[in-house]
């Protein structure tokens, strides 16, 4: 925990903290299917404990899968044998129905309860030594799964009444869901907001929408947050993201790491930016070299946590590569010896 807090304070800890954001690999550890694994909170607790120990990870990741919140809204989730559960057809097909939408009650969702159960159990194991990362979709990005991108862009541009109502519903849900995770023992919330990334919307639109919504939402959370753009770019909004009240920003491998380091220096801690898709076919040597390069650029001065660039490492990434990443962080990430 101290290692993470030190880097968040923009000082150099003993070693670069390593957040391998592993979800489905827990199923592999337990020798079960992804669907079975996520069917019980106990499985995720056991999976996270094993993964943390195996890779000497500096956090527990209480993320199950992205459409979990959609399930709470009554939407469909499709399981896959070799990938994360995905949303089915968006449950909002007629945009006029948005006005009837209400935030789901956390007490009524079995899936959300499984997550809270897992966080409580992990908290008992972690005590205050290892941070537990909870996850919430931003009110501004959740509509991609609720209604699909096209309809969402349509209401964003042409139906402000529907957009405002949807944001209100989603914000109430996001605040309640995030605070429930914090109350259960999560140390911080990873606020996933890919639509706010400069890959998806222009800066001007972000200022009017995602930025304002993040400010309002994060100010109501009872704990710290990391904002993750899930592989999206965030350099053009580097002056704005810190003003949302977040402490960490998840960065993409598509943007220049040196420029990101400079732009966010002493403002936000960078979380990233290993390319999870490419990682699938890295050799262990490439893994080591890629970690070394990232640390060389982003670690000096603190304010850096090594992670992937998407917030979830693909199921296809081998244990050998993950082990090589971990070894490299423990070798090249020691500040007094190698960094700087």
């Amino acid at each position: 925990m101290e290692r993470v807090l030190t880097t968040l304070g923009h000082n150099e800890p003993d070693r670069v903290p390593q957040f391998l954001l592993l979800t489905m690999h827990g199923a592999k550890e337990l020798g079960m299917s992804i669907k079975d694994y996520f069917s019980k909170g106990e499985n995720v607790v056991e999976g996270q404990l094993r993964l943390q120990k195996k890779y000497r990870n500096d956090c527990f990741y209480a993320f199950f899968y992205a459409p979990l919140e959609i399930e709470a809204f009554g939407g469909e989730v499709i399981y896959s044998e070799d990938g994360p559960p995905n949303t089915g057809l968006p449950f909002i097909q007629n945009i006029e129905k948005i006005l009837e939408l209400e935030p789901p009650k956390i007490s009524e969702s079995k899936m959300l309860h499984k997550v809270l159960f897992a966080i409580e159990k992990l908290k008992k194991k972690a005590k205050s030594e290892i941070p537990i990362i909870g996850v919430a979709m931003s009110p501004f990005s959740l509509p991609i799964m609720q209604m699909g991108f096209e309809k969402y862009l349509e209401i964003m541009h042409y139906r402000k009444d529907l957009f405002d109502h949807l944001m209100h519903v989603n914000m109430e849900f996001c605040v309640e869901w995030s605070n429930a995770q914090l109350a259960a023992g999560a140390t911080a919330i990873c606020y996933f907001d890919p639509v706010s990334s400069s890959t998806i919307i222009p800066r001007e639109l972000y200022l009017e929408t995602g930025f304002r919504i993040a400010q309002q939402t994060l100010s109501r959370l009872n704990g710290p947050t990391a904002t993750h753009f899930a592989s999206g770019n965030c350099l053009p909004i580097a002056d704005l993201v810190p003003q949302t009240g977040t402490a960490v920003v998840g960065i993409s491998s598509m943007e220049d790491l040196s420029k990101l380091k400079k732009a966010y220096k002493n403002k936000l801690t960078l979380l990233g930016n290993l390319n999870g898709i490419e990682m699938r076919r890295w050799t262990t040597e490439e893994a080591t070299e890629n970690v070394r390069k990232v640390i060389e650029i982003a670690a000096p001065g603190g304010g850096f946590i090594l992670s992937d660039n998407h917030g979830e490492i693909p199921f296809q990434v081998s244990d050998e590569v993950l082990m090589a990443v971990s070894e490299a962080v423990h070798t090249h990430g020691v500040y007094e010896e190698t960094v700087g």
Partner: protein
Amino acid sequence: MMENIKFYCDELERSLLLLDKEAAEKLLMEASGKGSAIEIASKIITATLKKIGDDWEDGSVALSQVYMSGIICEELIDKILPPQSPVRIHQPKMAIGVFEDYHLLGKRIVYSSLRASGFELTDLGGGLSIDKLVETIKKEQIRIMLLSVLMLPSALHIKELKEKLKDVDVKILVGGAPFRFDAELWKEVGADGFGKDSSEAIQMVTKLVEEMG
């Protein structure tokens, strides 16, 4: 040959980025009095959409702007070059769809851009399984199949699709986030081509259509 193409491209780009459909329509109607529909499609609309796509690649334009530009242009081209126009008819059968999931935006952008560039193609929608695709491609005798994916497992499953289509005369062109983040992936799954954005998709399709005669 039309004059002032640069003027029309610049003005169209400005109108599209401001989502000003009226201004874009007025401009294209003015241009249509000075050149053929095909000239407008290829030299003004396609070129402008390409510029906007390139600007997305370098980070100066966002995906929402690429999408809205494509939608506006698709609507406008239908007025200048209607779907039943003879110049659209002599093309190999083409279709587009989202493989295995329902993240439809990328597919919609490419679909709009291709139609705005004068191509006609069938939109097969999302959630397409391997079996469904094999059946449709064979039944409809599709020669060019564009597939969009968002999830890595879906991208990897294209290898199985290609295997099942090995005796069928169809080219599989792919696009989507996993292929953008791993430049080698499209070759690994055996696709016939990869377009990192809609302008590359247009280039690939244009080349294939020429080759197929």
